[in-house]
């Protein structure tokens, strides 16, 4: 016998090594290294400097604002996403494809344009500007503006996640519930919601990650008022432009940590989804009579 048996469908060794190398190299240089750099830079001046940078009132205010905005838009995203997915997956109506396209709009439009659009609508020279200032309501360069653009940017995530899921599940279970006498709310709570809960959570996590990380659109409408309308991503940029490397990277490390937590949550949800799916579709053919 000479040499090893080779699987007939295996590619040559050099090709496998090359592809693997390219993949891992990319992963290292573009994902692992930057993440590492953030933490290295943040701790460059030691623990105390890091803690001090995070303890800065403006930084703390930026972290608070970012978390507040993310939490605030969450229920809206859930309601809109479930309602839109429900309508699209379970009903046929005129203009359905138009609605699907509209839901994708925030993905397609550049965030800066989104910011400008809302500036044009709510700004001082904008559509509702005079009316708003006459009633002393501040939207642009204030919290409401940040929330509105964040809502716009994050609105597709939940719906996008749920539409294919609900379409694949069909509407027979709902119809069965209906024929058994369930009311609309009972049908939703007892049948629809349990079937989509993991997909919903997944969409919420993605929307949340985007809400915390959004820069462009928020940057246009926020006004960068320190300690007031400065979100964490904006704060990082300001600090960096002021050559406050430790401050900038410390803030960035918080963002990165939030991202890692999100990733972890996403992985857990994905794992649960897979497990539940395999459990609920495993076949036990035994027919005992």
């Amino acid at each position: 016998m000479s040499g090893h048996l080779r699987r007939v469908n295996a590619e040559p060794r050099w090709l496998r090594a090359l592809l693997l190398g390219v993949g891992l190299g990319f992963l290292f240089f573009f994902l692992a290294l930057p993440l590492l750099a953030v933490f290295v830079e943040a701790f460059a001046a030691g623990w105390t400097a890091y803690a001090g940078a995070l303890n800065d009132p403006e930084t703390r205010s930026a972290i608070g604002l970012t978390l507040f905005v993310a939490l605030f838009v969450l229920p809206f995203n859930i309601v809109f996403g479930v309602a839109a997915a429900w309508a699209i997956a379970k009903f046929d109506f005129r203009g359905k494809s138009l609605l699907i396209t509209l839901i994708d709009l925030p993905f397609a439009v550049s965030p800066v344009v989104v910011g400008l659009v809302f500036l044009l609508i709510f700004g001082a020279q904008g559509l509702f500007g005079p009316w708003l200032s006459a009633h002393d309501i501040k939207v642009v360069f204030a919290l409401p503006g940040i929330i509105i653009v964040t809502l716009f940017i994050t609105s597709p995530f939940v719906a996008r996640e749920l539409i294919p899921l609900m379409q694949s599940q069909g509407k027979e279970e709902e119809e069965a519930a209906l024929s058994l006498g369930a009311g609309a709310w009972q049908m939703f709570r007892r049948v629809t919601l349990p079937n989509i809960k993991w997909g919903l959570l997944y969409g919420v996590i993605l929307a949340n990650a985007r809400a915390m990380g959004e820069f462009g659109a928020v940057s246009v409408v926020s006004g960068h008022i320190r300690g007031e309308t400065n979100t964490l991503p904006l704060h990082v940029e300001i600090l960096y432009n002021e050559y406050n490397a430790v401050g900038a990277f410390a803030s960035a490390s918080v963002l990165a940590l939030l991202a890692l937590v999100t990733l972890l949550a996403k992985t857990i949800v994905e794992w649960r989804m897979r497990r539940e799916n395999s459990m609920l579709s495993a076949d036990l053919p035994a027919e005992k009579t």
């Binding site: 069965a176 024929s179 006498g181 009311g183 009972q186 079937n195 036990l284």
Partner: protein, 356 residues
């Protein structure tokens, strides 16, 4: 409870799903809606259930108009082709669902729910599966659970949409008999949709044959099989040989002779494969044919014969085939036992039979 369907019509865009459907189903009857896919049978079932609304016409339950009765208030048990069990609930919870969603005033106590669900599970002989999830059941078991679930709310009407369509032949046969027994015990009106003629003929009290949104024939299984009203019904219920008089003069003429008002060429004769006798000797009024293929299929022997370049199918019993000892290329004569003639296309003319 009786169901009365009056002049129901339904369109989807330009597609006519149902047109002028009239049907009366008395209490306790088991009716099959039979037809090819796209004939509107499922749409009709869904209209009865209230899951679809008709464009025109009425559905009456026990003489009462149902137009304003919501699907959830119709007291209709609906069984889906793909079971539609709640996948995240155990078998027990699936069956209990209809009881749990009742308004608090009429909802049974937990102990009663338990005893009723277990009684239903016993009825479908699956009480040992109460804690399983739907995905852990076989197709036949799932459909039985779906039925138990539908029966839990004590429906006045049971509607089944291709209930056995997704099951193996063996399980299907067993469930058919079982459904028939269950229906007889329950004393409710049942309607089931199927495209399987054997299933419809075996299970139903009455068969409604549908085609392209219209009813072709309503009758007992024996009626629709042995005296089909239209060529479509003839062809849909079992195999059939079609003879056009121009080609197969000898047979079609026999039947057409008695109808002088119809030109011979406008006549089509239908003969079932098992209604044709094969002889080795020339027969008066017999067709001469050549044996092409002989297949033994279970209890039957199917013989394919060629007559004037057209194919004729004949089914013989094994005994008869043994006596005949047919061989490929052999010259034989065919004689119909039962022949039915339609003016082409459509209308019934006359039935002609000639015994052998």
């Amino acid at each position: 409870m009786s169901i009365e369907i009056r002049a129901i019509g339904k369109r989807f865009g330009n597609f006519v799903a149902l047109e002028d459907i009239n049907l009366h189903i008395p209490t306790g009857e088991l009716v099959a809606l039979l037809g090819p896919s796209g004939c509107g049978k499922t749409t009709l079932l869904r209209i009865i259930a209230g899951m679809e609304t008709a464009d025109v016409g009425q559905v009456l339950f026990a003489g009462e108009e149902t137009a304003h009765v919501h699907a959830r208030d119709r007291k209709v048990g609906f069984v889906f082709q793909h079971y539609a069990l709640f996948r995240h609930m155990s078998v027990f919870e699936n069956v209990a669902f209809g009881l749990r969603v009742k308004a608090r005033k009429v909802r049974p106590a937990e102990a009663e729910i338990h005893s009723r669900v277990m009684a239903l599970l016993k009825l479908v002989q699956l009480d040992w599966l109460a804690d399983r999830y739907p995905s852990q059941l076989s197709g036949g078991q799932r459909q039985r659970i779906a039925l138990a679930r539908a029966l839990a709310v004590e429906p006045r009407v049971l509607l089944l949409d291709e209930p056995f369509g997704a099951l193996d032949t063996q399980v299907r046969k067993e469930l058919r008999r079982w459904l028939r027994r269950l229906h007889d015990e329950m004393q409710i009106s049942s309607v089931f949709v199927t495209h399987d003629q054997e299933e419809a003929l075996e299970v139903a009290d009455r068969v409604v044959v549908m085609k392209q949104g219209r009813i072709e024939q309503i009758g007992s299984p024996d009626e629709v099989y042995s005296s089909p009203a239209t060529p479509f019904v003839y062809q849909f219920l079992g195999n059939v040989n079609v003879f056009h008089s121009r080609v197969h003069g000898a047979w079609a003429e026999v039947a057409a002779e008695r109808r002088e008002d119809v030109p011979e060429s406008a006549v089509t004769a239908f003969v079932r494969p098992h209604d044709i006798e094969i002889e080795h000797h020339p027969l008066t009024g017999g067709l001469e044919a050549t044996v092409q293929e002989v297949h033994a299929i279970g209890p039957w022997v199917r013989v394919e014969l060629a007559h004037a370049s057209e194919l004729i199918e004949v089914e013989l019993t094994r005994e008869r085939a043994t006596i005949l000892a047919l061989a490929k290329g052999q010259q034989v004569w065919l004689k119909p036992r039962q022949i039915r003639v339609f003016a082409a296309p459509g209308k019934t003319m006359e039935e002609g039979g000639s015994g052998i």
